[in-house]
Amino acid sequence: MEITERSLWTLIHGMGFGALYLLACSGALVELYRRYSSKAANPIAPGDDNFLKVYLVAMSVLAWLTVLSGAYIIYPWYRAAAPAGIVNLAAFPQRLLQSNPATSGWHSLGMEWKEHIAWLVPISITMAAAVVIRYGRDLRNHPQLRAALLCFTLVSFLAAGIAGFFGAMLVKHAPVEGGQMIHLMQGE
């Protein structure tokens, strides 16, 4: 069982950082709504408050790792220019997609959208983490702040979902492959 170095990085970026962010997002939305709602009957325990702060900081770290690994490790492999006259475009995913009208949309719509919308995610969730750290339990007394946090977190979820969907489809149609072969285990 083998995997190429570039495939491994794509997995770390998408299934590691990105998918984990998406999973964490639903939890953050529920907790932001439930915990700081002015209708909530019980006071927020300091331990619960600290847990959400750590949770949102971890989400911010995941969001930054996702966009930075995508933009500075995987994207250069994806957009590499193919030498003139080359017939096999398998090592040049962007050129491979653009070479066929049936797949060019995955680049012109999918990658073009993904590469920009993804940056809204770390901006939104870093802001949410900073506000929760600053206000803590006092957030219950600021319903408008809480509403804005929920909107930005929801948009970060949507943006991460769009980026994740197109990332998965791009890998399906033109996988980023190459680099050193890594042997994971010996087959039977």
């Binding site: 006071p43 966009v67 933009a71 500075y72 994207y75 250069p76 957009r79 590499a80 012109s108 719509l109 073009e112 959208w113 590469e115 920009h116 919308i117 940056w119 809204l120 901006i123 939104s124 870093t126 802001m127 900073a130 506000v131 600053r134 206000y135 006092d138 219950r140 007394n141 600021h142 408008q144 702040l145 509403a147 804005a148 946090l149 909107c151 930005f152 948009v155 949507l158 943006a159």
Partner: protein, 115 residues
């Protein structure tokens, strides 16, 4: 007595809302800049070259780095001005959400292609 005390803390804001408003508006500005700079780099050959901060990544490196810098600078300035004040949060929220909505539109290629 304790019941009365917890009831007071549950309904009275201790911190002014300015610091939160600064973070929210700055996030709106930063998001909007991602959309604006992405469109600008796509439409202008000069800006496209200018935004190549890291050649393997191309203009995306400059678009994202510049938007993040604008976001952080805006956040710092607004935080300095509002951190000890209560501000009109409903208007600031509305502005930030409009900017966020515009950023979603501007990053969508069919909309970006209209410019």
């Amino acid at each position: 007595m304790n019941k009365q005390k917890s009831s007071i803390t549950a309904t009275t804001a201790v911190l002014p809302n300015g610091s939160g408003a600064a973070a929210i508006l700055a996030a709106g500005i930063g998001s909007f800049m991602v959309g604006v700079l992405a469109v600008a780099a796509d439409k202008s050959a000069f800006l496209k070259n200018l935004f190549i901060f890291y050649k393997p990544t191309g203009p995306l490196s400059g678009v994202s780095t510049s938007a993040i810098l604008v976001w952080l600078i805006a956040w710092g300035i607004l935080e300095g001005r509002w951190q000890k004040r209560n501000v009109a949060l409903s208007r600031i929220n509305a502005l930030a959400l409009v900017l966020l909505g515009l950023s979603l539109l501007l990053t969508f290629p069919p909309v970006a292609d209209l410019f």
